[in-house]
Structure formats: C-alpha cells, structure tokens
Symmetry: C2
Subunit: 189 residues, 2 copies
DNA sequence: CTAATATTAGTACCAGGTAATAAAAAGGCG
DNA sequence: CGCCTTTTTATTACCTGGTACTAATATTAG
C-alpha cells in the first residue's frame, strides 16, 4: 500500500489546488487509485466536479478580472457628475494585499483613484499625465475604500483632479491627478 | 418574422459577450429560435460551446489573474540588487489598454513601477508612502515596458526610489516613490 | 411557381460527471 | 487462523450540454 486514506485525501486536495483542470480519471491515474475512490474522496472533501470547478473559476474571473482589468473603472461607481465629482467604492480582497502584512498594495488604491479621475472627465478618451499620491494610512483586507474625486481646475483639455480615499471616515490616501482629455472625433468604442 | 439571420447573429454575439454563462437552450429561448439554429449560428460565428467558454475563462483567470493580482511583482523581474537597483519588463496586453485608443491605462505602468520599488527594498515588508509619477508618452498595446528602479537616498526605514520606464529607449514614465521598510533589516522571506 | 436558402427536428454519440448498489480487497485483532 | 469492519473497486442507470450529421419543412427571392 502506498498511501493511507487520509494522506491520499490530503494529497488530492493539494493536487486539485495546484491544478484544478484535472478530470477524475487523470486524478485517479496520478494517485494510483480507481476513479470511484477519487469520487468518494471528492465527495468526502466537498470538492466539486471538474465542470463545477471551471464554472466557479470562470465566474470569479468574470467578477474579479473583469472588474479589475477589462473595465474602465476599478471599484464600484457610486456617483458620477461629469467634470465635477465622482465616487467609487473598492473592497480590499485577499489577493490585493501583501502577503504577511495584510496591507493593500499601493497600486490598488492608485488604480481606484486613477480610474475614477479618468472616468470623471467628460470626453471620449482621457489620459493621466501626472499623479502625486500620498498613502497616509495602510488599508487592510476586508476594508471598504471610498474614493471621492473632484475637479479642482480645468484649462481646456487639462484637468486637475483631487482624490481622497477614505476608510470609515479616515483618509487613507490623497492624490492629485493631471488628466488630459483626448478628442477622438468618432466615438467608436 | 422578428430578425434576419444577420441581425440575430449580431445579437447572439452580444448576448454571449454580455453573459457567457448561457446554454444553447437558454439562448434559443431568448432569441426565440430553435436550439439547432443557435448551434448553427455559433458554428458560423466560431463561438465555442458553453463548457469550452467556461474552460477558457477559467484558464484565463488562472494565468492572468494569478499573474496580476496574487503576485508581488507586476511584470517580469530582470534584475534585482537589493537597496540599489532593479529592473522589470511588462508587456502591455490587450486588456490593459483603454478601449478605442489602445493606450495603456496609467495604473498598469504605476503598478509595475510601484511593485518594483517595493521589491527593491531589503526588508520583509515595505509600504509605499508617497508617489509622484509623470506619464510622458502613451504606451500602446504590444509594447514592452522596461522599468528601472534606483534607490536615490535612504534615511533609516525611509527610501526614496526613482523609477524610469522606457519603451525602446524612450522614457514613457518617470516616477519617484517614497517607500517605508517595515520590520527592517534581514533579507526578504 | 420553383429553386435556393434558412430553420427545425431527430438520431447517434461523447465527456464527465451523479447516485446508488454490490462485490472484492485489505486491515485489525483476539 | 477466521471474523468483522473499513476501504476500495466495479457496475449500472441516468444527467447535462453539447458535436456531427441527416432529413424534413419553412421561408424568401427571382
């Protein structure tokens, strides 16, 4: 005998964690047991079948990745008055923090503020030209960051936007963004 | 008759784009045609079946999300001399750019520079306290951004780090980061 | 009206499972 | 050693969400 039941189940968990794209058949081959055993083990461990795992990952992808990468805005837009003021809310999740300290990486706060500043500009396209940000207090996992962006001044295409990010009323980050509106002519997306 | 074939296929694309989690049956109900028609349409449009869509999304999640979110460093670390200098390379991908313009969103360049600055510090943990960044030239999709971070000065736990990001020799972003070492001394874990 | 095109229906098959049951193998121990 | 329990394997029926193909039926253009 190679492994005890307990050891095998531990291993199974690890293997699936490391590569969730394996079928029961493949898992069975890897652990040198039958497919039935794998299925019993999965049932006991509460690990769903491959398709369900993929479904969950895809859903996560859809929520998180979309939210982080493909979207114009990092965080959830709460209020938007073009060329005036905007607010967004970002909940710090496990994978946005530095391992060990549990403190959010600065670029997430920056991303929230930057994307909010860009969204605030009433133009088809806008680019950040300059940013000055001060991280005043660390933000921990689970905390909700409320960013408020305000247009401080505007000279033609050049906007100066002030952003304050707060957690429970306390300012955690403060930044100034210079954003340039780009006229695109056609508004083809 | 409701829709021409062409219109329906356009719509089908949209619907799947908006919600990739629909089965052919559900799609058929939504577009008021038979399942067969949906399948023919999918085949013509080269849209894979639900499971394949999920698989692709899950895979993307696995590759990209991991790469972007869970990692300490945005970009590929090329060189690292703790407390001195570090370099990383980031290739701008499709989903890092603003739609339409094809220009990389500022916070990706910021994230690359920020994470590099933090990595440069010889301490178990380090936090960004302040950042001033200037975006000098837009970066387009496909371009490779080489970031070089240098420790300019250090006073105890407080580091001032200068970062220059270049594309083909031309500086596209320039920034100064104030990073505070937490629990300083020793090597990183 | 007729021919071409579009749509629907139906069949066989597949992957990757669930669920339930039975049979075989392996321990454990007195 | 045999007996009992746990573990493992095998088997069967069924399910979803398809592919691939064929045939029949609508629909539309000329």
């Amino acid at each position: 005998m190679a492994l005890s039941k307990e050891e095998r189940q531990r291993k199974l968990r690890q293997v699936i964690e490391a590569n969730p794209f394996l079928t029961d058949e493949e898992l069975a081959r890897m652990l040198a047991v039958s497919v039935s055993t794998i299925r019993l083990d999965r049932a006991e461990l509460g690990i769903p079948e491959l398709r369900e795992r993929l479904r969950q990952m895809a859903g996560e992808h859809y929520r998180k990745l979309r939210a982080l990468r493909d979207q114009e805005l990092i965080g959830e837009l709460l209020d938007l008055q073009l060329d005036k003021e905007a607010m967004s809310l970002l909940t710090i999740e496990e994978d946005m923090v530095l391992k060990g300290s549990g403190v959010a990486r600065g670029h997430y706060l920056f991303a929230q503020a930057n994307s909010l500043a860009v969204a605030l500009v009433d133009a088809p396209q806008a680019l950040t030209a300059r940013a000055v940000v001060n991280f005043l207090r660390p933000v921990k996992v689970g905390q909700k960051v409320l960013a408020r962006a305000t247009v401080k001044s505007r000279q033609g295409k050049k906007y100066v936007i002030q952003v304050y990010s707060r957690v429970e009323g306390e300012t955690v980050m403060e930044g100034e963004f210079v954003v340039i509106a780009v006229r695109d002519g056609g508004k083809k997306d």
